[in-house]
Amino acid sequence: MWNWLKHHFLSPKTFYANTTPLLPWMTLAFALCFGYGLIDGLFIAPADYQQGDGFRIIYVHVPSALTAMAIYLTMAIAALITLVWRVKIAAICMSCSARIGAWFTFLALVTGSIWGKPMWGTWWIWDARLTSVLILFFLYLGFIALESVIVDQHNRDRATAVIAIVGVINLPIIHYSVLWWNTLHQGPTISQFAKPAIAPAMLHPLIAMIAAFMLFYGLILLLRMRNQILLRERKSQWVQEVFV
């Protein structure tokens, strides 16, 4: 079963062919979610009773932070598949995700800092949530740096996969940091089990923006993976055919 999946669905050639029809639909879904989230979040959702219109930064800060964590989780799963089953596509996914994840973590840090200044009176504080997200950013940079110094493809995939798996320990620390330690950062806005601590009128654009950010990640990931597939498989017959 796994071998069939590996050779028929996860082979670079099949992956390239299967993702082609997905791209326009993902672009459309992203445009709709982002357009709705942006308009509703900026102009329609009511102002917060404590933070006023300053709370609207939530619509870019929370989605970027969630996406940054989701990307690292994707990388860790891809790393495990790379190490155990040596699937080429998983190694490519891991590599492309790191570059996108670093940007989203940077965005979460910057928007969080911008939000922190009017609400907490400071751009930065060394509390558990902020520090653990900064560590996530350094993990991404470390992954990219390690990847750039190892020449051999096989060794590079294995070494970076180990980094990705070790770093995944940081994800629960980020998630539970606001519960485990005293911190200026607010608790979770959306919980898996509890009722959301946010009014529905404010929640809908937030969900749309989270979907938009995830779709953007998925879209850029597929586009970059397709580039890398062409590059790695450039000597194969099918690439010559696709390219011509």
């Binding site: 219109d53 300053g54 450039r234």
Partner: protein, 49 residues
Amino acid sequence: MTSMSHLFAMGGYGFYVWPAYCITLFVFGINFFLFVREKKHVKKILQST
């Protein structure tokens, strides 16, 4: 005109809200730009092989 300035003021938080959204658009833009640049690079390599 007043409603536009009211909109940009964001209840006194415009200095923080607008840059946050601009940086978001910048990050989206740079990710797309990096993909396009990589695609051109790959195309160049494929043409030379």
